[in-house]
């Protein structure tokens, strides 16, 4: 039984005076206990919105959520706000992208950790402080006792991200959602954080949803990868499958266009032409069609379905043939 089962999740933003905007559309995936699931895609592809929808953190007004999110037999989307708050932070933890702004600047780090412990684990202030210091120690913050009384601005980005991770893991959640936890950090710090995350997750058997645009991170961390484009999942596969034999022209294109440390030098990259703003709407066809080297008329008129294909899920009329490289110049 999956820990988390997302079925047909859709998020539509409606604001007066603007056209409704579908940010997430029919997203389905599931997460098993202890599993690490990746959600990759370029900026604006709907990764964050998906994660916020799972956590029930989207604004109450203006965002319409459809589909279902089952977490341990509980339907999260229909929970009342109060019930949801009981579970958030306890069963579901989340780490956000920007460690600089994700901590409250005017209260101490200690309080920001203990308040979760008090809330969900019923600890007293005192107990919570002891536990908080321990948590900080676990995420590798030197001299944790002193940190408790310090403020976020006294710490560097990497340290703050550790604090955030400590907070998210304070109640040993069953599921941790990490939304680009390292994007704002330097490579060396990123490596620290990623290794910390994967250690913590494997120690506690927590399931992890890793959201990132960096295919490299996914490649090293995730069991299963979902590639998103324009609010929909366009391809899902186990990571080896995905990286070694990507079928969707988008995934394929991405992989081709990233310069690699281990690739032969001097070989020109193969970019995807156009940019995300060239999308068409999914209702009209395949959102990727305007940029797709394989696009045919059907792509412009008929939205492709997400179908099982060779042990993976794929949303494409003209997938890349195995072993076939997509070749087309830029723009």
């Amino acid at each position: 039984m999956a820990l988390l089962d997302v079925r047909d999740l859709g998020v539509v933003f409606k604001r007066k005076g603007t056209r409704p905007f579908t940010a997430v559309d029919g997203v389905s995936f599931s997460v098993e206990p202890g599993q690490t699931v990746g959600l990759v895609g370029e900026s604006g592809s709907g990764k964050s919105v998906t994660s916020l929808a799972l956590m029930g953190l989207l604004p109450k007004r203006g965002a319409e959520i459809s589909g279902s999110v089952t977490f341990e037999d509980t339907e999260l989307l229909t929970l009342s706000d109060k019930q949801l708050r009981d579970r958030r932070g306890r069963d579901l933890g989340m780490v956000f992208q920007d460690p600089l702004s994700s901590l409250n600047p005017v209260i101490t780090i200690g309080l920001q950790i203990t308040e979760v412990l008090e809330r969900h684990r019923g600890m007293s202030r005192k107990e919570a402080r002891v536990e908080a210091a321990e948590l900080l120690d676990r995420v590798g913050l030197p001299d944790p006792q002193r940190r408790l009384d310090e403020y976020p601005h006294q710490h560097s980005g990497g340290m703050r991200q550790r604090v955030l991770i400590a907070i998210a893991l304070a109640c040993r959640p069953k599921l941790l959602i990490a939304d680009e936890p390292t994007t704002a950090l330097d490579v060396t710090i990123q490596a620290q954080i990623l290794s910390l995350l994967s250690d913590l997750v494997s120690e506690t058997d927590t399931a992890l949803i890793m959201i990132t645009h960096d295919l490299g991170i996914v490649a090293g961390l995730c069991d299963n990868v979902n590639v998103m484009y324009g609010g929909r999942i366009v391809e899902r596969a186990a990571r080896h499958d995905l990286f070694e034999r990507s079928r969707h022209p988008y995934t394929h294109g991405l992989l081709q266009s990233i310069p690699r440390l281990n690739a032969p030098r001097g070989e020109p990259l193969t970019p995807i032409r156009g940019s995300v703003s060239d999308n068409i709407e999914w209702e009209q066809g395949c959102a990727f069609a305007p940029r797709c080297p394989n696009a045919t008329d059907v792509c412009w008129s008929e939205p492709p379905e997400l179908k099982a294909d060779d042990g993976r899920m794929l949303r494409c009329h003209n997938p890349v043939a195995l072993g076939d490289a997509v070749t087309e110049g830029a723009l």
Partner: protein
């Protein structure tokens, strides 16, 4: 495809494997192996590249930087501002860029890459050192002479939107530089030049009358590039030219830069924090740490055999979109953060985080950047010992860095 690359690892890599195998960690070994894979390809390109490691290019130096320093004063004060200290953003860097080559500069955020780039163009005033551009000492130029000298050195910025004046149409953005240097002679010729420029960066003529906000990120970066090209420069300093772009677009711009270099014989100083990007386009790479260069080598050599502990760590930290590589990768994890450039550590700037730190020299003497063979320069007292495997890695107690300024 990565599989194949790895399996066709050629002979030149063995050196690296050997050296690293001597080291205590297996991690370095693996990295070495991968690097070796890349090296083959590198070798292929090397023939076509202007910047072979050989001494042939030495006399064709375009820019020489000697001991450049940029120290930003930290102003404090009650009545009148006084200088309470300095941010040692760039602290004594020597470097040469040869005509037609691409010099890559990497380093963590805040280590002074941007400042070095700007100091080189005198967009910030260096507090020390010299920059010699094509024989002229730029650091002594003043006023009009400085202004006219700018024609030959241009810059591309990280954020394509904020580097374009939102109130100017593309046309006036492009014409401005030409006008400043008397390059716009007559309506017709200017127009033709504009169209040519746009064409060379892959934009339609219709773009001329539009404003920056009407373009996508990649297109804006193209405008930025066209602006730099408009004055027919020799050197272009590209400060993180692709880090604000989507991954899928980033490749377009990188390709464009390469094409332009080939067509126009440009010289680039490319600044980036993404090692893969730097490696992809650079002939030579300099690694910066806290305001100084810690290592400099040809792109391939750097990748094949990083000498400085910091470079090693940096290279090992880069995630590669290849599960196979990732699965066997052993990382050199650095502890702690980059120290504040206002209070750089004594001696070797890296000693506070260095897993190879020794009890002598490291915290007292600042290592010089020295050539340890084949144009590979490194600023580490123990570079040879580390290479030879005589010094082992050890744990480092993280030191907490309080961010200031």
């Amino acid at each position: 495809m990565t599989d194949e690359t790895v399996t066709t690892t050629g002979a030149p890599g063995t050196d690296a494997v050997d050296t690293d195998a001597g080291a205590e960690t297996v991690g370095a070994e693996t990295v070495g192996a991968d690097v070796a894979g890349g090296d083959v390809a590198g070798g292929e390109v090397a023939g076509t590249s202007a910047a072979d490691d050989g001494a042939a290019g030495e006399d064709d130096v375009l820019v020489t930087v000697e001991g450049i320093e940029v120290h930003f004063p930290i102003k404090r004060g009650i009545v009148l501002e006084r200088t309470a200290g300095y941010v040692y953003a760039v602290d004594g860097i020597d470097l040469t860029i040869r005509r037609g080559e691409t010099y890559g500069l990497v380093g963590e955020s805040g280590c002074g890459k941007t400042t070095l780039g700007r100091g080189l163009l005198r967009l910030v005033e260096p507090t020390g050192g010299r920059v010699v551009f094509d024989g002229t000492d730029v650091s002594t130029l003043k006023g009009e002479a400085l202004r006219t000298s700018r024609r030959r050195m241009q810059m591309i910025f990280q954020d394509p939107l904020s580097s374009l004046d939102p109130r100017q149409s593309v046309e006036s953005i492009l014409v401005e530089g030409m006008r400043a240097h008397g390059l716009d002679k007559g309506k017709q010729s200017t127009r033709a030049r504009l169209v040519e420029l746009l064409d060379s960066v892959g934009l339609p003529e219709s773009a001329l009358h539009k404003y920056p906000h009407e373009f996508s990120g990649g297109q804006r970066q193209r405008i930025g590039i066209a602006r730099a090209l408009a004055v027919e420069p020799d050197l272009i300093v590209a400060d993180e030219p692709v880090s604000a772009l989507d991954v899928s677009v980033q490749a377009q711009v990188l390709n464009l830069l390469e094409q332009l270099q080939q067509r126009l014989g440009l010289t680039y100083l490319v600044i980036a924090h993404d090692l893969a990007v730097v490696r992809h386009i650079s002939d030579r790479i300099g690694v910066m740490y806290l305001g100084s260069l810690v290592e400099e080598a040809s792109s391939d050599s750097m990748y094949a055999e990083p000498m400085h502990p910091y470079t090693k760590a940096l290279l090992s930290a880069v995630p590669v979109p290849d599960p196979t590589v990732e699965d066997d990768r052993e990382q050199i994890l650095l502890t702690g953060d980059l120290p504040s450039p206002a209070h750089p550590p004594t001696g070797c700037r890296f000693h506070t985080r260095c897993p190879w730190k020794q009890d002598t020299l490291c915290d007292t003497d600042r290592p010089e950047l020295r050539d340890i063979g084949g144009g590979h320069r490194v600023a580490c007292h123990y570079a040879e010992d580390i290479r030879a495997g005589e010094i082992g890695r050890h744990e480092v107690e993280p030191e907490l860095v309080h961010p200031d300024t």
